[in-house]
Structure formats: C-alpha cells, structure tokens
Symmetry: C2
Subunit: 346 residues, 2 copies
C-alpha cells in the first residue's frame, strides 16, 4: 500500500480528499459535507431515528487481522442494524474518526471506502463528520439517522405473553470467527512465516469481520404481512437480548435451546475449542441478527419467511426468562450483559 | 472524589446510572435512551441539521488542567455552536464516550453532568449514546441535531461583495487561556507544591476551558431584523473562517486589523509571552464566536446589536482575502488551516 503521511496533507487536505470520494447524495440531503452542519429534508409524516455506536481499537477490533475496509463497513453496518431493529430505514450517517500518526492517508481512505460501501448497500448518505488525530489507537464513532412510519415503528417493549420469539439467520458465528482469528494471531506471533489459513472457516470469519445488517431479512418479514410486536438486534447474544425484550415488555420468555439456529461451521469451531456452541449463540455477541416477536397466530406465516426461525415464546413476567433444555427441563436464562470495561461477558 | 471502578458496575450498570440523571425530555422526543435508537418527532416544516465533533485527550484537551465537568460542557457546546452557525436551534444530542480503566464511575458522571448542563442551557435533549472502554485516552464524540426554518437557514455561501463582515464577542481569548494553562502546567511539573494561580486571567482561562456557544448573541441579531447572508463559527481563528466564507461565497474579503475585538486580558497575556494578540485572534482558534456577513445597508442596525462588531467587508473574488493593516496598507490574509495531525497551525 502507498503511504502518504497525514501530516503532509493536513486535516483540511485529508477531508477534501475524502469528501471527493462521496457519491452524489439523495434528494433528502439539502447540503452534505462542507458547511457547519449537514442539512436534511425531514419527512414530516415519519419519525426520525438516531443511533450512535463506536468501535475502539483493541476493545472492539484488532488491526492484526481486521482489514481497514471491513472495519469501516462494520462500523457503519452495526449502526444501520440499530435502525433496522426499530423497523426503520437508514437515511444518513455521520462519522467521527480519530487516527494515530502511524496511519497514512491511504489507510484512512480504506476505512472510508468501507463506510461508503455500507452506505451504498443500505441506502444511506454519508453527510458529515470529523477526522482528528489520536495519540493512541484508532477509534470510529458513527451516528446513523433513519426514518420509520408511525404505524410501523417497533420498540423493544411491544411483546405480549404467547408471542413467538423469532430470529433471523444464525447465531454464535461471529464468536466462532473471533476464536479462529485469535488463534491465527497467536500462531502468527510465534512464527511469522506461517501464513494464516482461515479459508476452511471463511463463513464464521466473515461474520466476525464484516457483519451484515439484516435489511433483506426485514424486507422479507414485512412482505409476509406479519406484524412485528417487539424487536432488538443481537449484538450481545440471544440471551441478553431476550432479557431486554422481556424486561422492556414486562414479560417472561422461554428460549428453546434446540431451536437456536447455529451454523455447521460454528459447531465445528466450538468442537475444536472444546466449547459449547449454544453458549456462543446465547452470549457470544456481534451476530447482528434481528431478534423479534410476532403474535402466536402468525406462526405459519412467519416460518414461511426465508432465514427466519421461531426459537421460543413470551410468557407472563412471573415465569421469568428461561431456557428450555433438550431433556425437557427448564433452566434460568442468565442475563450476563457485556462488560466492555473488563473486555468479556461477566 | 469517590472512586467506583467501571469494572464493578459494568457497561449496562454505568449506562443505567447515567440515564437516571437525564431530565425528562421535551415533547419532540418520542423515545429517549433505552431502545435501539432514539425516536424523534420531526418538524415537517423545518430543515434538520446534523453535526459531529469529537474531543480527544492530549489532542484537544489535557486533563492536567481541564476539569471533567468543563470537558463535557465544552464537547456539547462546540457541537451546538455548529448548529447556531446555520442560524438553527439545537434539539438533540447523542454521545459516544470512550474511557480508560483509570477513570471511575464518578469521573464519567462528572463529564456527563457537564454535558447535561450544556443541554439544559441550550435547550437540547440528550437522547442516546454509547459508553465504551478505551485502552488509551479519553475520547468524546458528540452528534448534535437541530432545526431551522427554510427561510432562515444561513450557509457559508451566501455572502456578496460589499456585505459587512461581523463578529460576535472577542477573539484570541481561548488561545491566551491555553498559554496560561500550559505555563501553569509546566510550573506545576517543576514544583508540585506551587499552586497554580490563574485568577488574574480568569476570563481567558474560562474561554479556553468552558467556551460558550453564542445562542444569546444570535438571538440579539435575529431581533435586530438584519438578514444574515453567510455565517460560520470561529473554531480555527478569524483568518481561516473568513477564508471559508469567502471561498464558499465566491468572494474576496478584507478584514480590518484594528477592528478585531480583542479583550484586554488577551492583550496582556500576549505581552507576557511576547506574542501578537492579532495573530491569536486570526489563527488562535477555539473562540467559538460567530463570524457572519450582512448587507452593507444594515450597518447602523448591526452595530447597535450588543456584542457585535463589524470587522471588514466582502469584495470581488479577484481581490483575494486581505488584511487591512493599521498603516493603511493591505497584506494577504493567509489561510493556514489547522492541522491536528501535527498539533499546531501549519
């Protein structure tokens, strides 16, 4: 890769280079980058959604194995995922990027390119931002805006007892990918001549490095005509997110262990590490699937939607949040949260 | 100060503590923190403004002398300043905070308290955010939303030749404050028993540590009935911002050196350091005053507005951007920009 130092182009020079690569914005953008604020045309009949999510080096990612382009894509996708979790559509994104002097202009352009790829894929405009130096690591903080009609907005709080708990895609894969990458990193440190071989686990590695926000799955659900009653995106594992839905909705919940959709590669990796793929599905995090509830009467309709599995059901609050085990018994489904301050689930 | 470790409360615990301290939101906030996104009621007749600005430790601030509460306030105020620079009103703010393990819960609460103080003062709701750990320094990235009516929005690009260049408040003070603080820091490092004495320079120190977004001045200008033709906030010094207005408007400009409003304390500090207060006014930065243009025919009206000075006028583009010196001669007013990647104006 070429290397042009950030000092040599300066902050304004860098921003000018980056802004030139932004495609023409949609009609709702009255003014993109280049003034004190971006100016957007609101849609008076729709609600405005706002969400912020940051990725911090050595906390959320490791540049040893995370390509910069993927990093930019992921930072944008995790924000768009929050917009989809309200049943909305992303419209705009702002970026705040802090980079150390060790990064060159080309590296920043890689990150930026990844963000633009995600913007294009999800239909949002990059409307503004801020690039600054950092004496330490790389940090990206993104804010996404979105829209949703009043009649279609879905909160975490709308689930009712007997509603079915549904999940898009499969879970635990991002965690499996992380294990593979961490292992390859350790091997590489011991012997830099060994080339990492992740091809066998390409799917789970990709799930970790380049998560997809579930735009298409959500469109499929909408087309089914089923009314989603509550929804959240799975960033901290199915168990924690089920807890969030249950608490916000004033319900209990049962997740059926055998119904958890887990990919074959995830299971294989878990076997290799002698760990439980179910644990990864429940607490692994970073899958960015959508966890949602629908009325029980819509069972036939929702299981007909591609990529959607029914994994449990909501109950009365007094029943608590449970895991239905393979042997027919019930266990408490623990809320562990995710503690970034210790760097692992606690 | 008490110290409760971040590890002990965890990310969810910390966010819960912080969210409890947020006052009840305005009516336009349909849903504040607690779901995947904040949900806002747009005002269909007004345009939506979005701006992002980050403060990074050891780049934008130094915790040796910057109280955490002021830091939070400043991070919010500099974003609101961008909203005012479009002639808008701030409505909402999201926060992304990365903190190292050396910070305790109480420190984060201090920062948060400063942000809430600013939100209250400027009439915006804190609607969402993200708190994460950082292996390195402290970083705050804030995104402000605002509104402005279509007929009142002011861009950088609306100035015309003969328009008067006006400025709120005084400039160079934040730079003077920084010099004092840096000096006291050096003294303290040599001899930790010497208590810093900044009382004599309280005004300039406050301008550096706790800049005020010019809400009141802008209201006064609006009340005068004068139509602002272009506007920008002064974050990188009057010279750079005049350049931005001139370039965006396709004009030249003349700034009259003797008309630059410089506080007596700023002059005194510049003398102490044997530096030029005019240089600080032109290139010092961080003053967060509003630089704007009005039609020449409104001269009488605009000079009657408290806190506003006329410091020059716009010219044809071919004339370039000039500084009218005390002796009647003209010099090129240089565009230096601000290069965060080398940490000083270049």
């Amino acid at each position: 890769m070429e290397y042009t130092s950030l000092e040599s182009v300066g902050e304004f020079g860098l921003i000018e280079r980056l802004v030139r690569s932004i495609p023409l914005p949609s009609r709702h953008v009255v003014k993109g980058p280049g003034d004190d604020c971006a100016v957007l045309e609101p849609n008076g009949s729709e609600l405005l959604l706002v969400t912020t999510d940051a990725l911090v080096e050595r906390v959320h990612f490791d540049l040893t194995y995370c390509p910069l382009k993927y990093l930019g894509y992921k930072a944008a996708a995790v924000n768009f995922s929050d917009i989809y979790a309200m049943n909305g559509r992303p419209t705009a994104l702002t970026l705040s990027l802090a980079v150390g002097a060790r990064f060159g202009v080309e590296a920043v352009e890689e990150i930026f390119g990844g963000i633009l790829t995600a913007c294009k894929e999800y239909g949002a405009d990059l409307v503004g931002g801020d690039v600054t130096s950092s004496r330490a690591g790389l940090m990206l903080s993104l804010t996404a805006l979105g829209r949703v009609s009043r009649s279609e907005i879905v909160y975490r709080s709308g689930a009712r007892p007997t509603d079915l708990i549904c999940l898009t895609g499969d879970v635990g894969a991002a965690c499996a990918g992380l294990r593979i990458l961490e292992r390859e990193k350790a091997v590489f440190k011991e012997n830099p001549n060994v080339n990492p071989d992740v091809a066998e686990f390409a799917y789970v590695v990709e799930r970790q490095l380049r998560p997809v926000a579930k735009k298409q799955a959500l469109e499929n659900i909408r087309r089914s005509g089923v009314k989603i009653t509550s929804m959240i995106d799975v960033s901290d594992g199915v168990a924690n997110e089920t807890w969030h839905l249950a608490q916000a909705s004033g319900c209990g919940a049962v997740v059926v262990q055998d119904k958890l959709p887990i990919d074959y590669q995830t299971i294989k990796v878990a076997e290799m590490f002698d760990e439980s793929p179910v644990e990864w599905a429940l607490y692994g995090g970073e899958d960015y699937e959508l966890l949602f509830t629908v009325p029980a009467m819509d069972y036939e309709k929702i299981i007909a939607v591609p990529e959607v599995a029914v994994i449990g059901y909501m109950t009365e609050k007094i029943s608590g949040v449970k895991l239905a085990m393979s042997d027919g018994s019930f266990a408490d489904l623990k809320f562990l949260g995710f503690n970034h301050f210790v760097g692992k689930s606690t």
